[in-house]
Amino acid sequence: MEELNLVQAVNRALARAMADDPSVVVLGEDVGRDGGVFRATDGLWTRFGDERVIDTPLAEAAIAGVAVGMAAQGLRPVAEIQFTGFIYPPIDQLVNHASRLRTRTRGRLACPMVLRAPCGGGIHAPEHHSESPEAMLAQIPGLRVVLPSSPARAYGLLLAAIRDPDPVVFLEPTRLYRALREPVDDNGEALPLDRCFVLREGKDITLVTWGATVVETLAAAELLAGEGIAAGVIDVATLHPLDQETIVAAVRRTGRCVIAHEAPLSGGWGAEIAARLAEHAFASLLAPIQRVAGYDTVMPLPRLEAHYLPSTQRIAAAARRAMGFA
């Protein structure tokens, strides 16, 4: 099996989907000859031609809107927004059109599109290139929001997103694009779009996270293990619709939970998860749910971003706080 990094896994999934299904088209800025600024679409233009791998003018709202039209016609567009910092004009298309075409037409028209965008901080990128807007996307009814944290999960989830009959926003953590490699079987097998991934079992506390923060959370679990605390780790890669069952079941067993994410604390997706736990695991909770998140501030520029991103130390400290409740 080939060892791939996350961006290569995305590339393989795109190539596989295009080879399997002639209705899959890729569009976006610089996705063609250049192969995408992160090389996610590398080689696709040469292999599938410029009718299916389309370099667009610089116009994000129209990229998303064009994808809506294509999808309504039965194509499977995979549109790239170069960075999530530029996803805000497309949110109009997502809210007012993509996510509700099925509802508005009582199922007559559907919108099987995927909007891919790199997201998150930690790569010393310029201004507007490091934000994590998953919660504002996950709040849109009718839309799926997926944020993988490993090459194999990115591969299987992207295939699932492309095959899904509804619109999916697929966010890719830039910090993990080249951070790690793992064996990825390019077998065309999709992963379910509504299951969390249990990355580590642990009876004392449940650490819930997604995206690049999975790395710091796993490190925190390791640190805690050295202190005699068995921490489980759940990767909520499919943020919306949410796999409440897996999270609630785990916290019912441990009674303690830390939720960690890069996006700002208030109204972050961690707030939704905490509310679900309060509703469905209340009787099992032994400590208040702890959240470790970005602050309610503008994402700082690179020289200070490390102070903003949830660190292993902050996650471990939150877990110790939770363990401190008798």
Binding site: D34, L58, A59
Partner: protein, 351 residues
Amino acid sequence: MTASGASLSRFIGPDGLAVAALPDFARDAAELVRLYRAMLLTRAFDEKAVALQRTGRLGTFAVSLGQEAVSVGVAAGMRAEDVFLPSFREQGGQLWRGVTPLELFLYWGGDERGSDFKGPRQDFPICIPVGSHPPHAVGVAMAFKLRREPRVAVCVLGDGATSKGDFAEAINMAGVWNAPAVFVVNNNRWAISVPLARQTAARSLAQKAVAAGIPGEQVDGNDVVAVRATVERAVERARGGGGPSLVEALTYRLGDHTTADDASRYRDDAEVSPHWAEEPVLRLRRHLTATGAWDRAREEQAIAAAAAAVNADADRYLATPAQPRETIFDFTYAAMPADLDAQRRAALGGA
């Protein structure tokens, strides 16, 4: 008239010879030398920025190699009290208006203090989300108009940015309101890997003004005299109540898109090399030399002076400690809300 139907203004050709009677400012050799030195400073800044980036001491950076005449010429066509709204490749204009190399290094080095300009206090910070700033220029212009101030907002954007809805919306609104705003398209023929022909089917970008009902014209963007004269005329017309306009400056991106880009993936040397004969610094040097205002000794002295100015600020930049981490919070609101202050205190407590 050019093939596009708009007239292209040019005073100095690629060989450095005047092709038309020069505007008044350009008959003053000292003024031409000032423009020339500003382009040299821009080039020196870009070179240093790339060197710092390559050695891990600066973030991703967008060089303006070959486009210095647009940036400098636009700023030279403005008055100090006007407001400049630059894209991310207009360091030449920013430097002309008094933004320091230190501030630019700080910004591109990932430090917000780089946008706290000590010189042009009302100029906008660099705009990274492409094409999202033309509406700001309309708003700035309408504030001037409301207060009866004879000032003009000048927005520079790229050819790629003209594909954004925000741009079309802004020039349309400026036209309706007769806003004192000038929009300059720095047409370097590329938007990362996308060449102009794949950006638009329009024969020129200047003609986008037609639909907005405002004047549009093309200028040779490698002729700093033409850029300055054209922008000055547009700015003074706007100042006098004559309304907004669009200027398309034709130049060429000689370098990679940014330090994160490798242009050899999508364009070859044969495409790029002819444009080196057109580039603006060489052109003005030829002109100055031909008119006896310049020689090798002055050239060497000027290059050394530009490098020294840039290097001194690079040293200051490298010696500038990072901001304390509480500054992540401190500028979010005018006054610190209690709710955010709680986060701030927790962060400082290490929790």
